[in-house]
């Protein structure tokens, strides 16, 4: 049977998925038997020192683990849980809440295409379809339509591994994918970082 409300709020992801009743609940992983890459451990421990309550480091820690594993895999969650002395279920509840934390395997390069109102008014939906079509099933790409990325001045736009580029047209798509695949600076002349303020009197 098709899950009837699979299209509701993604922040309650997995609410209708069956759970394995045979399995024992996972406890805080045993540090003696859980191996955590030294660098990841150091990053998480450093993050924990920044807050009065070390639990505040949950998001930075999951970000760091995702960097290492490519997504918040059960193994990644277990490693964070081990260092932070939390249960994997707790961290899973955090990871499923946030759009940037991936709970299924995805491509290495994130391509977030903003399809919210301001970008959409300037052609973002066609751009997203064009990028999807050009990317095909490429395993290294994680093409997603994303909510407002806060760059409506360069609409329609996309965030490529965190680098904002725009305004994009469908003609830019081949070069965009070429740059991502070659590991180059993506469309340098279209990067937000180089754009001056629109206010004519702000130059002074």
């Amino acid at each position: 049977m098709v899950a009837r409300m699979s299209d509701t709020s993604p922040r309650v992801r997995g609410w209708d998925a069956a759970s394995d009743l045979e399995k024992d609940p996972a406890v805080v992983p045993n540090p003696a038997t859980t191996s955590v890459p030294a660098e990841l451990r150091a990053t998480i421990e450093e993050a924990m020192t920044r807050y009065p309550d070390p639990r505040s480091a949950a998001i930075p820690a999951l970000h760091a683990a995702q960097e290492v594993h490519g997504w918040c895999s059960p193994e990644a969650i277990e490693q964070v849980a081990c260092v932070m002395a939390l249960t994997p279920a707790y961290l899973d509840s955090v990871a499923t809440f946030y759009d940037m934390l991936e709970t299924t395997p995805v491509g290495r390069h994130s391509v977030y295409v903003c399809t919210n109102i301001s970008c959409s008014l300037r052609g973002a939906d066609a751009l997203y379809e064009a990028i999807r079509a050009a990317a095909g099933e490429a395993p290294e790409l994680n093409v997603r339509s994303f909510e407002c990325l806060g760059a409506c001045d360069i609409a329609p736009m996309a965030s490529i591994d965190g680098v904002y580029v725009g305004p994009l047209t469908t003609d830019d798509v081949p070069q965009l994918l070429k740059d991502i695949r070659a590991g180059q600076d993506v469309l340098p002349e279209k990067q937000l970082a180089r754009r001056p303020c629109a206010d004519p009197k702000a130059i002074g």
Binding site: M5, D7, T8, S9, P10, R11, V12, R50, Y51, P52, D53, R55, S56, A57, A58, I59, P60, L62, H63, S93, V94, F97, Y98, D99, M100, L101, Y112, N116, I117, S118, S120, L121, R122, F146, E147, C148, L149, G150, A151, C152, D153, A155, S159, G162, V163, Y164, L192, A193, P196, C197, A198, D199, K201, A202, I203, G204
Partner: protein, 419 residues
Amino acid sequence: MKLLFDRIDEPGLCTREVYERRGGYESLRRALALTPDGVLKQLEASGLRGRGGAGFQMGKKVSFLPQGSMDKYLVCNADESEPGTFKDRELMQKSPHMLIEGIVIASYAAGANRAFIYIRGEYVLQADILDAALVEARAAGYVSEDILGSGHSLSLVVHRGAGAYICGEETGLLDSLEGKRGNPRLKPPFPANQGLYQGPTLINNVETLSTVPTIIRMGGAEYAKLGVETSTGTKLVSVSGHVQRPGNYEIELGIPSREIIYGLAGGPPEGREVKCWFPGGSSSPVLTGEDLDIPYDFDSLAKAGTMLGSGAIIVVDDSTPILDVALKVAKFYRHESCGKCTPCREGTNWTVKMLERIDAGEATPMDIEIMTSVQEHIIGNCLCVLGDAMAMPIGSMIAKFREEFEEHIETARSALSYV
């Protein structure tokens, strides 16, 4: 008059060297020479209203924090996610020290010794720039123990979120900052009494805090002369959508909206008219082309039944069906609902489904009534205003473009072959 955007594109402004050469951190020295109460008086005199969305008086907010020696916190809300809003991004990217200086001054007034900047995870470049600026500010003793010999100490951390609109809601932000799912909390208690880690917490938007050094430099009373009586000062406005020059503009509050949409942003493309516009992000009820002479300030917009919100104007021209706009907006709030309160979780979902039904030709005029009633039942019935943020604009679109919705129902229905 440019206060926040004064020579914002000057190369190297994001470094301490250039910022200080332009008089940066002078306001901090001046503030530390006053008592915390003296700083608070300046903030109150300025009449500065919060630039994040709610428009609450900043000075009043600071004064709500209890006195005493308990741990108090200051949180800068940099989770700029309201669709159409991108002003904080420009400030943080180009003038991060102005924000840091504002935070230090505000923390002194509030007696807070720990501060956090909660920045949305998507703003990688801006978070990196803030981190670099913070290293410089620490080295110069602006963010440290006993700042410039004043006895006031502050630690500041840039905390990166991970993509969730609801974390811009102040209590959702606090839960997220505590390492949890970003679910909003029941209010009261308000964050001023019980906020981060249950301690008194002052939460302000990036633009609000970035304005603080200017207020100290000019003096609160002088700042209050800018703008109009109940909306003082200048405001950054993000203009986007169907305009020829989208971007951030600094305006004096109270100028006619037309001057922003047409004068600064160039208006819709040649041959097009303004069909509707959101004056304060996609959560604000829409206005039409007839409302362009409304002064752009908090109270004038409230009187017109909408709000200034985050200062994000989204312009939609007459080439776009209203249903497309409504559907985009409703889908966004459905996606972002945290799922905690039923009216919001289900109401956003139902609204999307009804709008889709209209588009598919499967609706009847009765669906408009049902949709209106769903919006009315969301408003005021949830822990936070995310549901309201969909219900208000959708309700306003139905009220102002009812005929178009009805036409859409008929056209789509007659296009179906089996009717």
